[in-house]
C-alpha cells in the first residue's frame, strides 16, 4: 500500500515536473518587496542577504529529496548538491545556518500565508491557489537553457 502511494507520488511529481507549472519564488502579500532578481534570490537562499526592506527574510526550503528542491538548486542556485553542501559547511565556519525546511509544498504555502517575511519556492499553481505573491518565476526552458 505504502509502496503504491510512494509510486503514485513520484509519478505525479514527475508528471508535474514535466508538464505543470513553472517554479516560482513566492511570499506573503505583505512581503516588503514585490519582485526579486535571480542574484538576490540566490543571495537570500545562501544567507548572503539577511534583510530586505528592513525586515529579516526567512527563506523556506523543502526536504532533501523533494523534486522542487532539486529543481530550485539546479535552476536558481545553479549549484550542484555537493557544492551546496560544501557551501553550507563554509557558512558553518562563518556562523551561518542553512534555511528552514518544511515537509511539503502545502506546508510551505500555508506557512508563507501566515508569516509575512518568509519566502519559499513553489509551483506556480500552488502559489496561486494560496493567493501568494510571486516574486520571481523560473521558466523551465530558460533555466535549462541557462545551464
Amino acid at each position: 500500500m505504502k509502496w503504491f502511494v510512494k509510486l503514485f507520488f513520484i509519478l505525479s511529481a514527475s508528471f508535474l515536473y514535466m508538464y505543470a507549472d513553472s517554479l516560482v519564488i513566492a511570499a506573503n502579500r505583505n512581503f516588503p518587496v514585490d519582485s526579486l532578481n535571480l542574484k538576490t534570490v540566490q543571495k537570500i537562499y545562501l544567507d548572503k542577504i539577511r534583510f530586505l526592506g528592513g525586515k529579516k527574510i526567512l527563506p523556506i526550503n523543502l526536504p532533501y529529496n523533494h523534486f522542487l528542491r532539486k529543481k530550485f538548486e539546479n535552476s536558481v542556485l545553479k549549484m550542484k548538491r555537493f557544492e551546496i553542501e560544501r557551501y553550507w559547511l563554509k557558512t558553518h565556519y562563518m556562523g551561518h545556518r542553512p534555511p528552514k525546511v518544511l515537509k511539503s509544498q502545502d506546508a510551505v504555502a500555508s506557512f508563507l500565508k501566515s508569516i509575512d517575511n518568509a519566502i519559499g519556492y513553489l509551483e506556480k499553481g500552488t502559489a496561486i491557489k494560496y493567493k501568494l505573491k510571486i516574486l520571481y518565476e523560473v521558466q523551465n526552458g530558460k533555466s535549462k537553457s541557462k545551464k
Partner: protein
Amino acid sequence: MRFCTKLVSNLLFLLLSLFLPLKSISDDFSEGYKIGDNFYTGGYLSTEYEKSDEKEAFLVDDLAFLLYGENDRWDFVSEFEAKNLYIKQNLPIKTEESNLNFSIERIYLTYYIDDYKTVTIGKFNSPVGFWNIIPINVLRDTTSSPYIVEKSFPKLTSGICYRYALNENFDFLYITLQNNEDIDSSYNNFKIKKHYGITLELEKTSGIFKISGGYFKQRDNKESIYTVFAFRKIEPNYTFTIESSLNKIDLYSTIFYDIYLQHVQNLNEHYYLIARFEKFRTYKDDIFTVDKKFEENILTLGLTYRPYPNVAIKGEYNRYSMQNNDKWLFSFSFMF
C-alpha cells in the same frame, strides 16, 4: 609519551564518534549541533604528514571548537583553537612534542544595521583576499597555504569592521579598524597594535574582485603598508584564483611582493586537482642574514579527495626554486 598515546587514542575516539553522524549527510546534511534555542556548536580537526629529503613529520596541527548563534539582528561567532597539538618530527633528530593550549581564534558580534550595513566587533579574520576568509584545512584547497596570507597582512584583526553594500548587486566595502592590542595574539601572524584597512569586494560576471589596502603597526613599532588584489572565478568545473600583494615595511627599502595563481579543477564532486604557482619576494626573519630579501618560486600540485562535504583527504607536492624545501604533504581533516 603517555600523553601522546592518550591524545592519539582520544582523537581516534573523537574521529569515530564524529564520523557516525556523517551517515545522515546523504539524507539532509546539516552541520554542527544545536545546543540551545539559538545556539550551535561545531568544530574541526586537521592532521598532516610531511615528507621531504631532510624531514619527515606527522602532526595534529589543528583542533578547534566553534560556538555561534544568531538572534534577529545579531550574529555571534566564537572559535577556540589549539594548534600543533602533537608533532612528531624526524629531522636529523627525532622529536616528539605535544600541547593542548586552546586560544581564542575568533570571537565577534555582528550587528545588522539595515539591509546593507553591518558592523562587526571583536576578533575576526581580516576581510582580505579569499584564502584568508576560509583558512582552515578542511575548507581550503590545499594543505599548504600560499605565503601571501602569512607575509603580507595581519590574518586576524581585533577591532571593528564596518561592511557596507554599495549597490543592489551587493558589492561590499569593508572598513577595518584596530587601535588596540590583539584579543589573543597567539595565532596571529603579526603581533599588531594598529591596523587600518579597507577592502572593496566586487562581484562581476567575470568573477569576484577583492581589492584591499591597509596599514598596520606591530608591537615593536614596525610599520607596514600593504595592498592586495584578488580575483576569483567560479565555474561549475573549475575555480581560478589570483591573489597578489605589495607591501612595504618601514625598515626595509625593498618593496616586497607576492602573487599566486591557482587553478582547481573539479574532476567530479569528490575529486579535485589543484595547480598553484606562487612567486614572491620577501625578507628573511633571521638576523644573521645580511641581505634579508629573497625571492622564491613555488609550484604546487595537489589532489584532494572529499568523500563527504566535511571530510578532506589531500595530497600535494611543493617545489621550491630557491629554498631547499621541496616536499610531499598529505593531510586528513574534517569538520563537524
